[in-house]
């Protein structure tokens, strides 16, 4: 597996995921109707939408966990998938350290394990039992676990569910940094309008059908999007870190000397609020 920081040029625009005319029926109800989506290397696509709108169903269909009733959702043959589930309830009766979890569906050497954990700021947890992790730690370990597979496509279901607001912003920054470093494609589901959109190339707003898609800026101006999410929908564009201190990935406040409130990769032309 190529682990060089940037992919070769001819792979740069490689299509990783193609969803075409996808419809999904569950229990006689049509959950998704005529969904189209193409995701390429180096691209972050975020699926948002109201609860019950079919976001998670779309993700599960892409992953092959649900069969479509029409159309198809296919990951390019040979592409490696790394999946970060929303919840990860492992029974306490199953003993497992972080180190062992990293080898669950991959066979990395120790250096690769440490590198992946280091990327998410969890290298110090290597020999910790997964049952002793906090929600935020577990989430970052799960991202590292997906990364150790050297994925071409990283799929995350509500990756910031278990962390607080500041940790949430850090999580999406981490995901954007992973994409920058590895050039992988990222598909994620989020209910969080404001924080996630700043770290996204393309938004797919799903409410049974694709109600709109485009850059975060384009989507926020869409009439149907505004109707679904109300007047707050446009507020993401003004999002910056409003709190007076920053957090690094382990949740430790970072002092002013290392303050980095300028998130250039978030900048979409709007002035800071």
């Amino acid at each position: 597996m190529d682990s060089s920081p940037l992919p070769h040029d001819h792979l740069q625009n490689r299509v990783l995921l193609k969803v075409a005319g996808l419809s999904v029926r569950l229990g006689g109800r049509e959950i998704l109707h005529s969904v189209d989506l193409t995701l390429r290397r180096g691209e972050i696509v975020t699926v948002i939408g109201p609860n019950g709108g079919g976001k998670t169903t779309l993700l599960r269909t892409v992953l092959g966990l649900i069969a479509p009733s029409a159309g198809h959702a296919s990951i390019t043959a040979g592409a490696t998938v790394g999946f970060v589930p929303q919840r990860f309830p492992v029974d306490r009766v199953l003993p497992m350290t972080v180190a062992r979890l990293m080898r669950l569906t991959a066979r990395p050497d120790r250096a690769a394990v440490e590198r992946a954990l280091g990327e998410t700021g969890t290298a110090h947890l290597l020999d910790t039992s997964i049952h002793a992790l906090s929600g935020g730690e577990m989430q970052r370990v799960l991202v590292a676990r997906a990364l150790v597979r050297e994925p071409d496509l990283l799929v995350l279901d509500e990756p910031a569910q278990a962390v607080d607001y500041a940790g949430e912003a850090a999580m999406y920054e981490l995901i954007a940094a992973i994409r920058d470093r590895r050039g992988c494609g990222v598909l994620m589901v989020s209910h969080d309008l404001h924080v996630v959109m700043a770290a996204t190339d393309r938004v797919l707003c799903v409410n049974g059908h694709v109600c709109c898609t485009g850059t975060p800026h384009e989507v926020s101006g869409n009439a149907e999007f505004r109707r679904l999410f109300g007047p707050k929908a446009g507020a993401f564009a003004l999002y910056r870190h409003h709190h007076d201190h920053d957090h690094d990935l382990s949740g430790e406040p970072v002092d002013d000397a290392h303050h980095h409130h300028d998130h250039h990769h978030h900048d979409d032309g709007h002035r800071h609020a």
């Binding site: 999946f83 492992v90 003993p95 497992m96 062992r100 569906t105 910790t128 039992s129 799929v155």
Partner: protein
Amino acid sequence: MLDDFLLRALAAGVGVALVAGPLGCFVVWRRMAYVGDTMAHASLLGIALGLALGLDLGLGVLLVTVTVALLLAALQGQRLVGTDTLLGILAHGALSIGLVAVAFMETVRLDLMAYLFGDILAVSTRDLLWIWGGGALVLAGLVAIWRPLLAATVDPDLAQAEGASPPWVRVAFALLIAAAIALAMKIVGVLLITALLIIPAAAARRSARSPEGMALGAAAIGVAAVLGGLALSFGADSPSGPSIVVAALTLFVGSLALPARG
């Protein structure tokens, strides 16, 4: 003085414990204790079948446990009754049919107690070959599916999404349990097989840091339970199968005093 029958009993018990420990870990992790029970109870029907058809009784049991394993795998998708209800129906239905069928076979002298509670002291050389040969195959099968089965046990969706656990692995595991039950029946009997699967595994949890460590620990604790149980049975003339389970239970209670390691 060690007699041949005691050596055979030891060898048979150790053989079964080495298989039951690691396999039992998955039964515990996957919360399948009732599944083991169901196959075990149904195995009495296999005895009846074997007697009626003139088959080797071990083969009769294997036929029935494998059938039940496949039946359970096939029925898991249905939603009419809950899985626990379904298992109860299968377990007690098959056990009862077996008991009734055996009762009708007046021409056959069958020590029912030996099948219900095991008779390790009556193990023959032929039984030993079954246990060690079959046990080696079951263990080899478990090692072969270990990684995908563990991935699917930790998180079935994740394992499937990452292509790390094909669906047949679950069926293969059910078949391994079916085979292990057919092997263990002679040792602890139909009613106590599940105990040999789950008690050593549960006792190994406290001192284990990894799934593999717990599997090895369960095998070791199972062997210790067989040794302790046989000593008890031989010394106090207690029934061998229940004595082994009592020894395992003692080890489990003892393990609770250990500090948890993770």
